[in-house]
């Protein structure tokens, strides 16, 4: 189950087939960037494949913003390669970067819409920069506003829009020049949960309908969980963990990932957690994490068939992330008979579930 790549395994990644490399929209090779004494990026290697949604998560100050800004040349790495569609852009001049940036759309946490322009003029601005005639620009802007559900706001000014509507305009603007890649810089961090969901749904829809590759950075696992296919966890300028979202959620390796996952992962109910004793007690509480194949099997019925004796499910459930079942079950096993407990653990191990003894409780729950 531990299929995802941890920092130490990263070296093995270039063994991917050569034909795959052509499908990479973005390839970063050992990118470094320092600001004074601190290393914002400390050797980042990463690929973004065509059509995928890659989420990059980290705490504030982890280097996420610097990383995403390196991808369109707003920030220049000190060393390393930034390859966009097969071309290293890290040494290009500002003038040579300009046509390239038109292939990359970007949306921002604070939307960055021009207050002096109407919604349609904001959306059409990238096309104006490209030098398209006005009639065509406005036609394309109308199409895009239709796509993001704001056709009726074309003549409005951004100040009259809600946060969610502003971000929809931002998305329409980012798509105007038909980019190959969309960069999302904390695009939902300034929005309330409901609006966040609708914006994420829109991004997912665009990804599916247009086949647009999306790279997003966020500090919220919820964002990663709802739309990303793959996730890379960044801390102190390094990628500490990356892999398919379901796999990282099911089996986080680094402390940073675990703490970022925080409340998103199921927890033992508080009243039970309070009564937990480190050693000796009538009942043992187990945390069982299952994902992928292991979670598709009738695990509990197999357990009771294979290991006779009681156990009780006290909390937990199975969730689906990218069509993969990811579950956490909290089992309560009577502890008078140590061999029974050992049997339960051994069986679960054999079924590729991860088992952790959380502690014991004195009386039955």
């Amino acid at each position: 189950m531990n299929q995802h790549i941890t920092a130490s395994q990263e070296i093995a990644e270039p063994t991917r087939a050569r034909s795959d490399a052509a499908q990479d929209v973005v390839r970063l090779v050992d990118v470094k960037r320092r600001f004074g004494a601190t290393a914002a990026l400390d050797g980042i290697s990463l690929t973004v494949r065509k059509g995928e949604i890659l989420g990059i998560i980290g705490r504030s100050g982890a280097g996420k913003s610097t990383l995403i800004r390196c991808l369109n040349g707003l920030e220049r790495p000190d060393s390393g390669e930034v390859v966009i569609e097969g071309r290293d852009i890290s040494r290009l001049s500002e003038r040579d970067l300009q046509p390239l940036r038109r292939r990359i759309g970007m949306i921002f946490q604070h939307f960055n819409l021009l207050s002096a322009k109407t919604v349609e003029d904001n959306v059409a601005l990238p096309l104006k920069i490209e030098g398209q005639p006005k009639a065509e620009r406005l036609k394309r802007a109308a199409e895009l506003l239709e796509l993001v559900g704001l056709a009726d706001k074309a003549k409005a000014y951004p100040a009259s829009l809600s946060g969610g509507q502003k971000q929809r305009v931002g998305i329409a603007r980012a798509l105007a020049a038909r980019p190959a890649l969309l960069l999302s810089d904390e695009a939902t961090s300034a929005l309330d949960p409901e609006t966040t969901r609708s914006i994420l749904a829109l991004l997912k829809d665009i990804n599916r309908r247009l086949g647009l590759t999306i790279l997003l950075i966020t500090h919220e696992m919820e964002v990663i969980r709802s739309i990303a296919n793959r996730v890379a966890v960044i801390d102190a300028g390094r990628i500490v963990e990356q892999g398919p979202v379901w796999s990282v959620f099911a089996d986080p390796q680094s402390g940073i990932t675990k703490s970022l996952l925080g409340t998103i992962r199921p927890q033992l109910p508080a009243e039970l957690a309070e009564r937990l004793l480190p050693g000796g007690g009538a009942q043992t509480i187990l945390r069982v994490d299952v994902a992928g194949e292991a979670a598709r099997r009738p695990l509990l019925s197999e357990l009771s068939a294979a290991v006779p004796g009681p156990f009780r499910l006290v909390h937990g459930g199975i969730d689906h992330i990218q069509q993969e079942p990811v579950g956490t079950l909290f089992l309560c096993v009577p502890g008078e008979d140590a061999t029974h407990l050992a049997g339960v653990i051994a069986f679960l191990d054999s079924r590729r579930a991860r088992v952790e003894v959380l502690g014991h409780v004195a009386d039955p729950v």
Binding site: L97, R101, M106, N112, L114, S115, K117, P126, I129, P158
Partner: protein, 218 residues
């Protein structure tokens, strides 16, 4: 007030308005690009060049620290070179413009600096060049401030033009000193003050209305 004095008053009003409008326009034409140059060349600006920035800043500060009445006299050779004479309304427009341009450049600089840096970054991310950023972002976004600052400059110019009487430029200030003050024509003095109040209020009112129409920041 005698008909002759009244005619003098009308002529003075015209002279003051001419001086204010002409030097105001010139300060706008040169001051706004100067303001843009100041914010573009500063650290982190779109055309960072600290050396140019420092020289520009020093020159602007130099002109701004000279009292206008001194500038008026000191610039006489320059005025003669440009207008052909150092006396009269048109001659006064030269020192007035030279004084107002750095003043307006600083005011424009303040408004331009207030433009959210994120907007400049968005334009860069779209593939815009410096000219795009100036034309599509900096100037339109700072326009309410640019217009409000221009209003302040015009009002300041109405006051400064009064001093230009010293080089025979005429205008309301000159009228007030020569007739109202030196000849004790109280009615002229009152008339001049009332006209100045109306003029300043008018400029401010038009400026405020324009700013309100331009400001879309909600």
């Amino acid at each position: 007030m005698s008909p002759i004095l009244f005619e003098l008053l009308l002529r003075s009003i015209w002279e003051t308005m001419l001086m204010t409008a002409a030097s105001g326009l010139i300060s706008l034409v040169f001051g706004l690009p100067l303001g843009l140059a100041l914010i573009s060349t500063e650290r982190g600006g779109i055309a960072e060049n600290l050396w140019v920035n420092r020289v520009l800043g020093a020159v602007i500060n130099g002109f701004r620290s000279v009292p206008f009445i001194i500038l008026l006299v000191a610039l006489i050779p320059v005025t003669r070179l440009i207008v052909g004479t150092s006396i009269g309304t048109w001659a006064a427009i030269v020192p007035l413009s030279i004084a107002a341009t750095p003043y307006y450049a600083r005011i424009a600089e303040v408004s331009l600096r207030e433009v959210d840096h994120g907007l400049i970054e968005a334009a860069r991310a779209m593939g815009g060049n410096r000219w795009t950023i100036i034309r599509e972002v900096l100037v339109p976004e700072a326009l309410p401030g640019i217009v409000a600052g221009f209003t302040v400059t015009l009002v300041t110019l109405v006051g400064a033009s009064a001093m230009a009487g010293a080089i025979g430029a005429g205008g309301l200030g000159d009228l007030a000193i020569r007739y109202g003050y030196q000849r004790f024509e109280t009615s002229v003095m009152i008339a001049v003050v009332v006209v100045l109040i109306v003029l300043v209020c008018g400029i401010q009112w038009v400026g405020d209305r324009l700013v309100a129409r331009l400001d879309r920041r909600g």
